[in-house]
Amino acid sequence: MQDLNDLYQEVILDHNRRPRNYGPLPDATQSAKGHNPLCGDKLTLLLKVEGDRITGISFEGSGCAISKSSASLMTDAVKGHTIDEATALFDKFHRMVTTPIDQPVDEEAVGKLAVLAGVREFPARVKCASLAWHTLKAALTNAPIPAKTE
């Protein structure tokens, strides 16, 4: 049962129950939708990008504990950071969740996100943890939301 406790750590359960940066972002400049058809998880990510910096971020949607907490942790982790920093963190996160189970993960590189390293024991769940990150990447490369006229 250790692996289940590794997966559903208190931090993850907390972010699942009280997701951070959850809700609308009225002055968003960028957005993307993520969908994991396997489990039906749906996520909308909203970004406010000023210059090269993510100054605002929020998400909405339904999902399992892993995808929701990962989205919540991600929004906290990239808020206020530059696009380059967010992209670098994406790479580090991706490396962490794809590191073989018998090898140590670089916890320092990912900071708080290290709580999600437990998904490696559950190959079917890696997608849940990655959904928010792939959606972030899509949002950053999407054309900006056209400015509202009213």
């Binding site: 692996d3 289940l4 997966l7 559903y8 039906g40 998880d41 999902g63 504990a65």
Partner: protein
Amino acid sequence: MTPHAASASPASPLDVVAVRDQFPALHQLVHGKPLAYLDNAATTQKPQVVLDALRNYYERDNANVHRGVHALSERATASYESARRSVQRFLNARSEREIIFTRNATESINLVARAWGDWQLRPGDEVLITAMEHHSNIVPWQMACARTGAILKVAPIDDRGDVILEEFATLLTPRTKMLAVVHLSNALGTINPIEDMIAAARRVGATVLIDGSQAAYHMAVDVQALDPDFYVLTGHKVYGPTGIGVLYGRESLLQACPPFLGGGDMISSVTFEKSEWNELPYKFEAGTPNIADAIGLGAAIEFVRGIGFDAIGAHESMLLAYATARLSSVPGLTIIGTARRKASVVSFVMDDLHPHDIGTIVDREGVAIRTGHHCAQPVMDRFGIPATARASLAMYNTTDDIDALVVALDRVRQLLG
């Protein structure tokens, strides 16, 4: 197949211990716990006789069918055709010519949507399905409608998961050229009143396809009594191998219908000017068929016939009643799908716990269930949920398996609160 209150010591004529002995895969530990395999609607386990049939074919009889004059080819052809006869008897079809081997139910439906659909559908014609169809009985019709200009209509379902028959009756009109309906819903367990639906379709002159993918392992099917034009099933859900499916088609309709795929085996003569189609069923079996798995399916069907749907049905009714009662007592659990006539499929949600988390945690207790939308996204949308967890019970399941699920669900609650 209607649920009764669970009795304390359920008696059923099926010797479940002896049945379980026939299924090697059931006897294993998963994450250190005895396996409780409750994902039969996705695929059933295979009895030893099926494994032996596959092995025997490859070890002794491996040869192409309908081609060789040598001993191996004759044996392979005899086994392959004997499997077809097994399917014919299983469905009570009039003739072996009405039994076409395909890859799975999906291919069977696509075959009809292509060969029959492109032949018969005209702009403005209607194809009627229900809101509880598997994607495989939705998408081929959407594609056929896009090709032909026909229109897809959907009969809605109510909160229990029954087709709303008044609405169905309104939607079924002389414009309806095809009625394509699932016999038994994989997501809800609903057994549709297809006898009445087929009769109604007859009155407006519609052709009928029944998706029997799930029905085939729960209940006896008699295509002469039901009288659909097409009935499809998929081998891996009747204790047979993957990669083999069946299309039953009324002989006169199959005769008239143009072929689907062209190639070897489906022709009687070929010149560069013109080819003559082979006789039924070979006209619809282009190329070397899946010989081994057809033989495996034949073995599976004989196995099921040997046990009999009376015994299977009684056992599964008992399991459904037990599972319904036990799961209903789990705090926060709601069963999705409470149709009047239901098979041993129990879909459920638990408060705000996501089915995916439930599935992962119970797996660690050795309990295999399906979580997700079950390839029936419109059903999930109808109930306003992203997904369900689903326990689907087969002839080899026991009340112990259900108890293991209930204990595992307690564990989910402990862990996720």
